[in-house]
Amino acid sequence: MSASVAQVLVEQRTHFVRRWTRTSIIGSSSFLVVAALLAVLPFMVNLSLVYSMIDLFILVILAMTWNMLAGYGGMVSVGQQAYIGIGAYSMVVLADSLGLNIFAAIALSAVVCGVIAIPISFLVFRLVGGYFAVGTWVVAEVVRLLVVQFPQIGGGAGISFSAMSDLSRDWRIATSYWIGLGATVIVVAACVLLIRSRAGLALTAVRDDMTAASTSGVMVTAVKRLVFVFAGAGAGIAGALIAVSTMRVQPDSVFSVQWSAFMIFIVVVGGVGTLEGPIIGVLVFWFLKQLLADYGPLYLILLGVIGIVFVLFVRGGIWGLISRKGRIELFPVGYNFSKKL
């Protein structure tokens, strides 16, 4: 195989290839700084703010992993609540009934969701596009209807999560917050590493042109299945965090399709198919929620309208407006080819 011009230039040492760009150095280090600052937040601000920040972490995890699924993999799922529910119930069973350590229980909840996502993927991958979307929804409904059959885990009424009830209220909230922050950092890092990896390159190719990716030797279905399982595990972590922060798992709430609505809104407003978009989208969503959540239906109508306006007129989302067509990236996921000075 003949070497490309770029390869020749690199061998002649006039040019070089690097992963880290100025923006991604600044972006990634500020991400770490923000995470470090957030870690000390419970000592500085009101606990009710700390408590509502746990919601923010849950939404970051959901939006990041849904974006991998829909934004990169092209699979619009409206059934991620299946894994949120399974994750929440796994948490209760593992930590309460089996007495596992909370951190081990969260990790295992993610594993449970990932494993369950494998057989489900074989079913729903028979559907494409819009039918895939409704198919995932049906699966989520089936999981909900099956879960409420078991009185051992509370049936239709739900079950309490009591593994952390020994702690005082303040410590419980702070601990949930730190667990949420830690999980968020891990999930965001996992998304960045996944996109940087060989599978991520394949996934990015699938995002840009599925047919071209397939003819270039990308195993499209295998890559999609990997992402489907990854997103299932991510939603499972979010579910486990819901159990930890609310101390109660109610089937109608954890299996609610509203979670999917929130994920979609966040990713669409932030920027579909980018790593930075969901984080920006979560901030927008969270501020709107703090401002308007008391208005109930009106708030949700507004979210719907904003979401539609973004899909129709600002398809790249807020990050699309900022990033100047991908020239700015906050995470080192691409390769950059430049001349030596």
Binding site: R126, V134, P297, L300
Partner: protein
Amino acid sequence: MNLLDPLIQGILLGGLYALFAAGLSLMFGVMRIVNLAYGDFAVLAAYGTLIVVNAALISPLAALLIVAPAMAVLGYILQRTILQRTLGLSPLPSLLVTFGLSIIIQNLLLMFGSADQKRLSLGGVDTASITLPFDIRVGVFPLFIFLLAIVILSILSWVTAKTQYGRLVRAVSDDPATVDLQGVNPKQIYALATAIAFGLVAIAGLAAGVQTSFNPTSGSMLLIFAFEAVIIGGLGSLWGTLGGAMILGVAQTVGAAFAPAQQILAGHLVFLLFLAFLPNGLTRRKVRA
């Protein structure tokens, strides 16, 4: 246990689901989009009928003469203004927009209506029944809806197979750019198809409103049933959809005969069995997505 009775009730229930599924598969067939707000538009039509009935003191059937054309106009406008902009190679925009519409409609209904169950009444007809041999009682209204579904599916398949509009629909579904070159505006065909689908959804919404009760969020379930009927029947086949709808209806009523609370779960499980073992549905035709 007598299974003949739930079997017949299930087949009749299938008529209602077929009525729903017809519009959904029409929109998919023509534009390759799945309207996630489809069930919510049915519920919107049912509420619209309720308002007209209460305001004008007429029967729901008479109200339908106002509501169905109004829904068709709404569908036409929606297609020309919003949905048309979402069409393209990727299904993502249309899914996201229709999901947004679904949330908007549900919450508008919650805001202006109330969360409790509503029902449309046709007077004596809702509860009237005829007795068949073996002492099986069949509701007059479900029977009427079943026959109506067959009539509407016949008309739809006649229109797509024989009329000029049907030929255009099939041509646009295959290759919109070429149709455009021949001097026919595909956008017009799309908008008319959406108008027809919305007229159908108004009829289906009224039927569902009489046969069962409805609330602002019951549209999701209607969408799921219509979707299951389409997949069980096989994409792209109207009569397959009727078959799929009857299988779904029977699965639900027979499931309910064994375990009364598990009606919906039984339908879902039969759908998943079909997905696992007969993914192309009854008609076994492969359709590009």
